[in-house]
């Protein structure tokens, strides 16, 4: 999980900064889907997580302050509520997340089976020092994730939402090289 950026979006001058202009949400491509989600629950707030998933996918893998404000308006919650969710749940990004999002599992089983080398490989390919930082060329975001539930085929990696198992550093290199 990448709480490293927990404080993202919170700056000392927040009080005087211009609030973001909310996007008009939901855009027509996902309107039906979002409206459908809302009907499943007795409260609008309950739709937050599934709607944020849909929104993150639609907006290129992350939720900008403008989208955050748009979703907040749509679901009738404050935007700080949405930001609270974005910074609590590891799968959401509140900063640009590269063209490819790479999750490397770091938890015990994967760690026993070579996760440390996988992380180094991924960071090297991305050209960054630490997880949770978008690569300078905007290509990758490597995230250190906790157990992905694929332990029987550890070590596990996700690239753009697709699981890859029994990954070796060589295999990971190939997979990342294949990314545009």
């Amino acid at each position: 999980m990448s709480t490293a950026n927990a404080a993202a979006g919170q700056s000392a001058d927040r009080g005087t900064a211009q609030p973001p202009t909310p996007v008009s949400f939901p855009p027509k491509e996902i309107k039906k889907q979002c409206d459908g989600i809302v009907t499943r629950y007795p409260t609008r707030m309950a739709a937050c997580l599934p709607v944020l998933h849909v929104a993150q996918k639609h907006y290129g893998g992350w939720i900008s302050p403008e989208v955050e404000a748009g979703v907040a308006e749509y679901l009738g919650v404050s935007d700080s509520h949405i930001r609270g969710l974005l910074t609590f749940y590891a799968m959401f990004n509140s900063k640009p997340s590269g063209r490819h999002e790479v999750w490397v599992c770091r938890t015990l089983t994967c760690w026993l089976r070579g996760a440390v080398q996988l992380r180094s490989t991924a960071l090297e390919k991305a050209g960054v020092e630490a997880c949770g930082v978008e690569s300078p060329d905007g290509k990758f975001l490597v995230k250190n994730m906790e157990c992905l539930g694929l332990c029987e085929e550890a070590p596990a990696v996700f690239i753009d939402g697709q699981p890859h198992v029994n990954v070796t550093p060589e295999k990971l290199s190939e997979l990342l090289d294949a990314c545009e």
């Binding site: 999980m1 709480t3 490293a4 927990a6 404080a7 979006g9 919170q10 700056s11 000392a12 001058d13 927040r14 009080g15 005087t16 900064a17 609030p19 973001p20 302050p65 955050e68 404000a69 919650v77 404050s78 935007d79 700080s80 509520h81 930001r83 609270g84 910074t87 609590f88």
Partner: protein, 509 residues
């Protein structure tokens, strides 16, 4: 289910009301159980874990803010709680240590020092191992929460009181938690400003120095200040407050709990309103207009004599600020009678906000009505004018009065017609009684640390002037004044607290 109606705390049996928690009963009975995330006016979060107590027979300590006094249905004996047993103390010390491991140990430069519960309890419990070499987590400091409040996430202990306040009391939801685990912080809506005008209450309820008032920050160390119980005169709600001042300046105003008036809260406007008290144009001494038209400083005695002389010549009405005390208003009536005129009061009308703030701005308008003063709605002649604030007695009324004797706080509020000027204290500097919008009599106490030195109380000045008018007025002193008010038929059902009363409220009508 057995009907257990008592709980033993440290071996003493106490009764409790249905639904009451152990911490409530402990506090009601003067037992000190530390707490951070508990506030009687907010929902229970049970997250800080500092209020743990031992329940006899239970190896696990329990949080007393959540623990009901009523035992579980299958138990027919009262619970036996220990707040000072080894287990209770070590559990709390353990929590304390955890809180301190990431807390900056910079009390000497922290604004909360002196009223920080973390500091208090850490002295009580000892600092344990927290000062060990473990590096502290870095979190944002100096974050603006709107224009009035500054947040320091490193000092914050994530008790969520501030978040719950905005959720439950004002229902404006500006604050939320962000991040996770030990990087959790309080975040604010991107609008960057509070919708509610009650935001500064979060500064009061924050148990540590994580939320500070931009207004008060670094102004004064608490232990240099004087405090007094008073009421806010910002509107007719009359929120109970504590004034804080030092060397003549008013430093701040904080709400004081009163379940029937303001609970634990006050509005920001009322809180920040005190700043008029410190205006550079404060009048500190009486003044008499000389032949060449300047107001020269005078002794109190000379001013009293001059005022009496001027009034004997002029006669007429008395116009007082709706924020005057009952005592002052009563004497204004006596004075008007002696001068053959009428006493009226002036007060502004604002907007009610649906919570505490009411439209009536005259803090004692209800008192004035009880005394039988009419409300001045338009400018009219008055020989005597009492102005505490511009808001209640605006310039048109002041100029229109053509008054010869003026009581005022601010030199800018003295009309050109004044022959004699008396310094009038702000509400923080005067003792007296107020009747709020609900007819509740409340006591304001003078804070000795605020205002010019040796300020003569206005009721004394008024009595002295009355005495000089040869109208047969006997000097009463404050007790006598209150007794005289009490004797009026309008006050038959109201019992006014004795003048020396230090109690927070009197009775309602």
């Amino acid at each position: 289910m057995a009907d257990v109606k008592t709980v033993f705390i440290n071996g003493v049996e106490y009764p409790f009301d249905a639904g009451q928690t152990v911490i409530q009963v402990a506090h009601e009975n003067g037992l000190d159980v530390p707490h951070y995330c508990y506030h009687p006016g907010l929902s229970i979060a049970g997250n800080c874990r500092i209020c743990m107590v031992e329940v006899e027979g239970d190896a696990k300590p329990q949080v007393s803010c959540k623990l009901e006094c009523a035992p579980p249905p299958w138990v027919s004996e009262p619970l036996r709680i220990q707040t000072e047993s080894e287990l209770a103390k070590s559990a709390r010390a353990g929590t304390m240590e955890m809180l301190l491991v990431n807390h900056p140990l910079d009390c000497p430069i922290c604004d909360q020092a002196g009223e920080c519960h973390l500091q208090d309890y850490s002295y009580q419990l000892g600092q344990g191992q927290a000062s060990s070499s473990t590096a502290k987590t870095k979190l944002p400091k100096n974050v603006a929460f709107g224009e009035k409040i500054v947040y320091d996430a490193e000092r914050c202990i994530k008790c969520t009181l501030c978040v719950r306040f905005c959720e439950e009391v004002t229902e404006t939801n500006e604050l939320n938690l962000g991040g996770r685990g030990d990087e959790e912080i309080v975040i604010m809506s991107s609008k960057g400003e509070f919708e509610t005008d009650y935001s500064m209450n979060i500064i009061d309820i924050c148990p540590v120095g994580a939320l500070t008032s931009r207004d008060f920050r670094f102004k004064s160390r608490l232990w240099f200040m004087d405090f007094a119980d008073s009421v806010c005169t910002g509107c007719a709600r009359g929120c109970n407050v504590i004034t804080g001042g030092r060397n003549g300046s008013m430093m701040r105003m904080e709400p004081r709990h009163n379940a029937d008036v303001n609970q634990w809260w006050m509005c920001d406007q009322g809180r920040l309103d005190y700043r008029y008290v410190n205006t550079p144009t404060r009048i500190a001494t009486p003044r008499i207009k000389t032949a060449d038209g300047v107001w020269a400083a005078a002794t109190v005695d000379d001013a009293i004599l001059a005022a009496a002389a001027a009034l004997k010549a002029a006669g007429g009405n008395v116009l007082v600020d709706g924020g005057c005390t009952l005592e002052e208003m009563h004497l204004a009536q006596q004075l008007a009678a002696a001068l053959g005129g009428k006493a009226t009061y002036a007060a502004a009308t604002g907007e009610a906000d649906g919570f505490l703030r009411v439209a009536e701005q005259g803090a004692n308008a209800a008192g004035a009505e009880l005394l039988g003063l009419a409300r001045a709605t338009k400018a009219g002649a008055a020989a005597v004018l009492v102005v505490e604030r511009d808001a209640n007695v605006p310039q048109a009324l002041r100029d229109g009065a053509d008054a010869v004797v003026v009581f005022a706080t601010d030199a800018d509020h003295v009309p050109a017609s004044a022959q004699v000027v008396f310094p009038f204290g702000s509400s923080a500097e005067r003792d007296g009684l107020f009747v709020n919008t609900d007819g509740r009599v409340q006591v304001a106490q003078r804070n000795p640390g605020i205002g010019p030195d040796n300020l003569t109380p206005p009721y004394e000045l008024l009595e002295e002037i009355l005495g000089e008018l040869d109208a047969g007025y006997d000097w009463h002193g404050r007790d006598g004044i209150v007794a005289a008010i009490q004797a009026q038929p309008a006050f038959a059902k109201i019992s006014l607290p004795a003048a020396q009363a230090t109690a927070e409220v009197g009775a309602t009508s």
